[in-house]
């Protein structure tokens, strides 16, 4: 079975600090008027934070290739949900035939 990978606590503290900073950044960006980019910025920061959690706190960075396949598969399936849903939202305003 899998071996336990020992991660220095320094790594966890660093990631925690980055996550806290990103939270602060999210709040600050929310006060800027970026138009449609406000949502983009908030989601981009959130995705970055999620990736850090998955890689370090959930140990995926140190896991087997099969675990990577599972994680990437899950993200890919979320991509399917978002992409095919957006085919509707992005093209609704194009109008209809006839």
């Amino acid at each position: 079975m899998s071996q336990t990978h020992v991660v220095p606590t320094r790594v966890y503290y660093t990631i925690f600090a980055i996550l806290m900073f990103c939270t602060y950044l999210t709040v600050q960006v929310a006060f800027l008027d970026l138009g449609a980019l406000n949502t983009v910025a908030a989601l981009a920061i959130a995705v970055f934070k999620a990736v850090l959690v998955v890689l370090f706190f959930m140990h995926v960075k140190y896991s087997t290739r099969l675990t990577w396949v599972v994680v990437i598969g899950g993200a890919f399936w979320l991509g399917i949900l978002l992409a095919l849903t957006m085919t509707d939202y992005l093209s609704r305003a194009w109008g209809t035939f006839g």
Binding site: G73, L81, L84, T85, D88, S91, W94, T96
Partner: protein, 540 residues
């Protein structure tokens, strides 16, 4: 066929501990399968009772048996019970739980405690839903469409939604357990392409369970949150979009159809091979077809939404993608037929159900192609054509497969034989009753009868009387197996380890199997469906 008089083995999983505690705290996958079997049978008959009332109401054009509000609750609870608490767990949680370790030569699933936990979660979810039923019911339809479910409905939406949410975790845990077990616990020599096709279908089903169920769970939770706290996910008044709910709901709920039907396809592959004494024609392509159905099933959901106001361009994309699912589905049907060609066919009960599946699934699948076609879809959406179509898939397909599988492996599960004549008779009654119930609904729907109304124009009465008459026959057909399978538990003849002369590891251990499944771990040196090997003496 076995000719010697068989006896039950002295030690097996059913007599390895007695009393309620030995069942409620068991970690044996076979006992957990039976716990699931008892639970889903209860939900099946509750859901069936709703169907009886629906068909009684529709026997006459006037809404004279129940009020319109009660009727809405009846079809909603029928759908919720049958979809989430019977069909989705039916084959995976019962036959899958029982057979996956046996078929790969393992002692149990990878996570036995997680397996038991999944049953408890299922029961808790079921209790929430039963509470909703008893305390007034829910009237949104099993689809919980917004904004009705979040703003307008005054019925028990939240407890029902929570019940479905909780049950989702049971499904995820079961799927996860199967995936890990199939990856990690196969016996020596049991390569991926030596696995029975039932396992390929269970594997594909598990992928859907793990990848899709979280989406429905969160979506249903959003409905509850919006209803309780007035968030703006789906309410346009506060910036939401009701169609977004439909996207999220069907992202899971269309693949959920394949959670129901893929395991039945696995059963049909096993049964057709066993009762034709031949390997399944094109084994690898049938195996890959299961995975293809699972993957393609995630790309088609918006065909449920063609008239919901989605973009016509997106609708065209989903229309084409929906038709693609027909390809791997047809591969399976053609390959089963090719397997039968020049086979030594034995028309025993499981084979009758398999034949029923192939015919009814084909009708259900082909009408699915009609519905994938944009123009036809607009004409028949929300009519009885839809009701007939999905019942041909879910009842004609999934339930036929479930009953076929239950009969095929019943001697392994119970160690005893069921009465063959009664079983054949009930298979015939179910087939006739099913077609009489649902074929007239295709006609009624095509002629314009809408679904989900408790009253209808008198022009449709003949078709509805036929349908209600068929439902009564179908009900009898379901009660007969219930009675004789229970009877056989005590009075059935001992089956012996392999009453059908089938190949596969599950037939190489005793019936019922011992708790540890095999005395020694088997080593597999042959392909699946090696009926030539049976002749050469490799198979018990």
């Amino acid at each position: 066929m076995q000719t010697t008089v068989a006896a039950l083995p002295p030690r097996h999983y059913l007599n390895d501990g007695f009393g309620i505690r030995s069942w409620l705290f068991t970690r044996d996958h076979k006992r957990i399968a039976l716990l699931y079997l008892a639970t889903i049978t209860l939900f099946f008959f509750i859901g069936g009772a709703m169907a009886v009332l629906i068909r009684l109401e529709l026997a006459t054009p006037a809404g004279d048996l129940v009020t319109d509000e009660t009727y809405n609750k009846l079809f909603t609870m029928h759908g919720v019970m049958m979809v989430f608490f019977f069909l989705i767990p039916s084959i995976p949680a019962t036959l899958g739980n029982f057979l996956v370790p046996l078929m790969i030569g393992a002692k149990d699933l990878a996570f036995p405690k997680l397996n038991l936990l999944s049953w408890y979660i299922f029961v808790v979810g079921g209790l929430f839903t039963l509470y909703a039923l008893i305390s007034g019911g829910v009237d949104t339809g099993w689809t919980f469409y917004t904004p009705f479910s979040t703003i307008s409905s005054t019925s028990k939406v939240v407890p029902t939604a929570l019940g479905v949410f909780i049950t989702g975790f049971s499904s995820i845990l079961t799927g996860l357990n199967f995936i890990v077990t199939i990856h990690r616990m196969r016996a020596p020599g049991m390569t991926w392409f030596r696995m029975p096709l039932f396992l390929w279908s269970i594997y594909a089903t598990s992928l859907i369970m793990v990848l899709g169920t979280p989406v429905i769970a969160i979506t249903i939770l959003l409905v509850a949150a919006e209803r309780l706290f007035h968030f703006g996910f789906f309410d346009p008044a506060v910036g939401g979009d009701p169609v977004l709910f439909q996207h999220l709901f069907w992202f899971y709920s269309h693949p959920a159809v394949y959670i129901m039907v893929l395991p039945s396809m696995g059963v049909v592959s096993e049964v057709v091979a066993a009762f034709c004494r031949k390997p399944v024609f094109g084994y690898r392509i049938v195996a890959f077809a299961s995975v293809a159905i699972a993957v393609l099933g995630f790309l088609v959901w918006a065909h449920h939404m063609f008239v919901a106001g989605i973009s016509v361009y997106a609708a065209m994309i989903f229309s084409v993608l929906s038709m693609l699912v027909a390809i791997p589905s047809a591969v399976k049907v053609f390959n089963w037929t090719a397997t039968m060609y020049r086979g030594s066919i034995s028309w025993q009960t499981p084979m009758l159900y398999a034949m029923g599946f192939i015919g009814l699934f084909t009708i259900g699948g082909l009408t699915g192609v009609f519905l994938a076609t944009l123009a036809v879809n607009v004409h028949v959406t929300d009519t009885y054509f839809i009701v007939a179509h999905f019942h041909y898939i879910m009842v004609g397909g999934a339930l036929m497969g479930y009953l076929g599988g239950l009969h095929y492996w019943w001697p392994k599960i119970s160690g005893r034989l069921y009465p063959e004549f009664l079983a054949k008779l009930s298979a015939g009654i179910i087939f006739l009753g099913f077609n009489l119930t649902f074929f007239p609904q295709f006609v009624a729907g095509y002629l314009g009868m809408p679904r989900r109304y408790h009253a209808y124009p008198p022009d449709f009465q003949v078709l509805n009387v036929l349908s209600s008459a068929g439902a009564s026959i179908l009900g009898v057909g379901y009660l007969i197996p219930m009675a004789y399978l229970m009877w056989s538990l005590r009075y059935g003849r001992a089956a012996g380890s392999n009453p059908f002369g089938a190949v596969g590891l599950e037939w190489m251990t005793t019936s019922p199997p011992p708790t540890e499944n095999f005395a020694t771990t088997p080593v597999v040196a042959w392909d699946a469906y090696d009926y030539k090997g049976e002749v050469e003496g490799r198979v018990a």
